[in-house]
Symmetry: C2
Subunit: 230 residues, 2 copies
């Protein structure tokens, strides 16, 4: 059975920039699974609704349609137990949920304030009005206003990465000596940013930047090969 | 070989309030290991120096002296492999380091701003001057000034627990269906606070408060039995 993934794309169909889709792309690669990615745009809801879903990532596997990046990772771990483990055991699976919650509630909201107004420029023209309207309603201000203070705000963001930075003093990956899915969860946010914005999130000498480079090297440079700003 | 733990105590030798010592107390109990705790005060550095150490927790096991709560947890896991695992596998051990880093850099600094001026009242008289002088030098202000805005600051602290709160929507412990050492790491901070201050850190309806109660129930109510303010 082939695996297919609806994957958020920009005007350039090769520009894939959803942090949640990247969590899944990296999980599939870690499992050694081939996947056909299907470029998808925000205004193509009908293509997901046909499978009972509303958002990407959406994985198709035979007659199953699995939504939500965490649910997909657990599906891959359980359905393909012979591949390398995404979690490194039950404890690793449970604690990856904490990492997922940290990424969703600290890292992603931190990044969005730094890059959101750069996103329309890379979107398919059909998506621009939807994106601006929906996000400006969410923030209650223009996208430009959200990131107007980003030169100051990036310092707040960098401080919020302290748990990651302290962890990297002890080991090269969240997973320890080698990456686990927890690394992919956090990497997804940084990959999103580099695909949509030239704004540098990390200081060059930040250990988090070195870890990000190690993640870009994984799986034959999978994440490095897409259109991005660095 | 008996296990002995130098454990920070207040004027009441039964009041044990170091968050890092509590990480170890909970780890020892999780492993089912008996320990003799040795009440220790800040001004008794010579008792640690005799074992080549400067800080508590300090575990004595035969002729070994092991310092640092993380190092002690790994020592217990590796030296006593037959007891319940503290980490739930290699992935769990690696990711517990991230939890440890989060607790050290987000949770503990958040709590200290809310309770630090309440600590002198529970200290042994011999420790009071040392504690006040060393902490006021660290903060660059009086202890009372540090926590002067705690009614507002506690809201910031509660927001910083969002990763924990989101995780608890999916499972009752960081460790999943049952606690792992990662739970003890985070619990240590809350146990410290309840042993030194009546100030409520958590809203009553916060899922984190319910988790804290579950942690207080563990090991026959080990952490509930010491002198505390709730």
């Amino acid at each position: 059975m082939t695996l297919q993934l609806f994957d958020l794309a920009g005007a350039d169909p090769a520009r894939r920039f959803s942090p949640y889709c990247w969590r899944v792309r990296m999980a599939l690669a870690a499992k050694g699974l081939a996947v056909e990615t299907l470029p998808w745009r925000f205004t193509e809801g009908a293509r997901l609704a046909a499978h009972g879903a509303e958002k990407v990532p959406l994985l198709l596997h035979g007659d199953r349609a699995i939504a939500d990046s965490w649910t997909i990772a657990e599906y891959l771990e359980d359905r393909f137990p012979d591949g390398p483990s995404l979690f490194g055991g039950d404890g690793g699976r449970a604690l990856a949920r904490f990492v997922n919650a940290w990424a969703d509630s600290v890292q992603i909201p931190g990044i969005v304030r730094l890059v959101v107004a750069d996103i329309p420029a890379v979107l398919d023209p059909a998506d621009v009005a939807y994106f601006r309207t929906s996000r400006e309603a969410r923030f209650g201000q223009t996208l430009e206003a959200v990131q107007a203070d980003r030169v100051a705000q990036v310092e707040v963001f960098r401080r919020s990465l302290l748990p990651l930075r302290l962890m990297l003093r002890a080991q090269p990956f969240l997973g320890g000596a080698a990456p686990l899915h927890a690394d992919s969860i956090v990497f997804g946010g940084f990959q999103w940013a580099r695909c949509v914005s030239p704004f540098p999130l990390l200081a060059a000498d930040d250990p988090v930047a070195a870890w990000r480079q190690r993640m870009l090297d994984l799986h034959g440079g999978l994440a490095r090969q897409v259109p991005a700003f660095d």
